[in-house]
């Protein structure tokens, strides 16, 4: 898919959470861009800060614990960080939206699906009830929900998980937004339903050319629907690049190790090279490269100093001292 202008750009974003275990540096200098009609995959293990990055973008960090401490969030060139809550409300839903992970809890159990869908529509356009109802039906039809008129009257508990997630999708794109963040939207779904849902997201994107930030831990999903990938580890992006290139030649040792550690569908492997140890706690980060304690190439410098970001190919960057030998930018 051809990519248009940059719609969303994060510049050195830092977000902290104060917890009873100390200050957690959940997002610690994340920079990324997503273009119109493009899907960027944000990949990482649980607790690496993916979800917090997404919530920071919408300025919906858990209150009062979470706070953006530095950096910029540029939506079509406009910085969201200094915006007031009032201004953010006009932006949410209309210009940027999000699909949450768990369809079971994303809908309010005490209101009908129609009520919640109409509510989303009404935020950004006025109109008589009948017309909004018709729009809601149309929205459901677009996410391939059969018999939308009936479904609008249903309550969430009467629907299956896959169906609910479609409704959540319909609500998310009702704005219609220019940027959609999808936070592991298929993790809670069955394998066969997962593929249906991914296909649906692709269709929506083709139709509306929205920019999508797709958060996942599954390289299979990334390979399937993402144009570019950013790999996150302990609050930072360690490598980013076009999907095909990154899969063919990962440059950061973490990406390399992670990809090697995933068992393959298409070939039989005798023994997987595992990564020893485990990710660091985000309130006690090592001073140098976060991956250094587990990295087999780590040297003194890695332990001391966080590596700069080096270009290692066209649009392909890695934050690793070993990539320094490549032409720097």
């Amino acid at each position: 898919m051809s990519a248009g202008p940059v719609l969303l750009e994060l510049r050195d974003l830092h977000a902290h959470l104060s917890t009873r275990w100390g200050v957690v540096r959940a997002v610690d200098g994340v920079s990324l861009t997503v273009r119109e009609g493009e899907t960027l995959g944000l990949v990482g293990e649980s607790g690496c800060g993916k979800t917090m990055t997404a919530l920071s973008i919408l300025r919906l960090l858990p209150q009062p614990a979470g706070r953006i401490v530095a950096g910029q969030i540029l939506l079509e060139g406009e910085d969201l960080v200094p915006k007031s809550e009032r201004q953010m409300r006009r932006i949410r839903g209309r210009r940027i939206s999000m699909i949450l992970q768990d369809p079971q809890t994303s809908l309010n159990p005490v209101f009908s699906v129609g009520n919640q869908l109409v509510e989303a529509l009404r935020v950004h356009r006025a109109g008589p009830r009948r017309r909004l109802r018709a729009l809601a039906q149309e929205a459901l039809r677009q996410v391939r929900v059969a018999a939308p008129a009936q479904r609008l009257r249903d309550f969430p508990h009467q629907m299956s998980g896959g169906m609910k997630q479609r409704v959540v999708g319909a609500i998310a794109v009702s704005g219609p937004p220019r940027v959609l963040i999808a936070d592991e939207p298929t993790t809670a779904l069955d394998v066969t339903i997962q593929l249906q849902y991914l296909t649906l997201l692709e269709e929506i994107q083709e139709r509306t050319r929205l920019a999508m930030l797709f958060i996942t831990h599954d390289f299979g999903i990334v390979a399937r629907i993402c144009d570019r990938v950013a790999v996150m580890y302990a609050g930072r992006i360690v490598e980013s690049g076009p999907t095909r290139e990154l899969f063919a030649a990962p440059r950061h040792p973490y990406t390399q190790a992670l990809m090697a550690a995933v068992p393959r569908m298409d070939e039989s492997v005798e023994r997987l090279p595992a990564i020893d140890g485990q990710p660091p706690a985000l309130q006690r980060l090592p001073p140098g490269c976060r991956f250094a304690p587990r990295c087999r190439h780590a040297d003194d410098r890695c332990q001391r100093e966080y590596p700069a970001v080096f270009a290692v190919g066209r649009e392909h960057e890695a934050a690793c001292w070993r990539a320094e030998s490549s032409p720097s930018r």
């Binding site: 949450l100 809908l107 009908s112 509510e119 309550f155």
Partner: protein, 305 residues
Amino acid sequence: MQRYILRRLMQGAVLLVVLAIVVFALARVTGNPADLLLREDATAEDRAHLLKALGLDRPTHQQLLIFLKGAVRGDLGDSIRYRKPAVEVFFERLPNTVGLVSIALVGAMVVAIPLGMLAAVGRGTLVDRAAGAVAVLGIATPSFWLGIVLIYVFSIQLGWLPSARMGTPAHYVLPVITLGAFLVAGMMRLVRSSVLEVLDSEFVKLARIKGLTQTVVLWKHCLRNALIPVVTLFGVFFALLVTGAIVTETVFAWPGVGRLTYEAVIFRDYPLLQAVILLKAIIVLGVNLVVDILYAYLDPRVRYA
């Protein structure tokens, strides 16, 4: 739904019969009820006379049958103190209690719901702390003592408000505050914690992602969900108060069923106590049923389950 109500009614009936038997048995197991009625200087003849008058000279199982038969017909015996049917005495007093309790409950809700929501939204702020302190105090304050303190301050020292019995609207003020203090505390805690729970839910996050205003999120999504436990509590409180405003009514000499219960205890008016307990049980069961039906209306998950 109808089958559900029917089943509940059946269960209630069983419960009442069991309760009636327990009440009946307690009076017999612990000595002859007649002994409670006799003055200390009564003769054996007086006793025999009374036994016959009360039907206590028959075998126990016959007594039970007579008692249950009477109960079904709405006859729970005569009050010893008032010398008329206990049921009648109860229903004379009931409106006074319902009036007092309704005002206190509605008043408490008007105060507690917004306050609880405010505390939840401003979690950790001064408002929240103040509300928390009020709640903690309200729960720990013995209501009989609060009533007496209020009487001392507002009736005796300041002379602003009447301290006892019914009459003018002013008579309502102190008892309502006494009842309300506890209510406000309990309700506010509940509203706060349920709103907090809802605020942390994913669907509130989605509502905010939609771009809804804080007001809509609060008053639509939070309130409806948070009201569910409050409604349950409302019913429980109503039942508890109608039956348990004993202390407050005693302090303020309020001629309601609570005060009646107290009198029945103090004067050992066993038939009256028996009647009061059974009638109150019916009220409790009825209110609980209504609450459960209301609950099903508020929460669609229950409706079809």
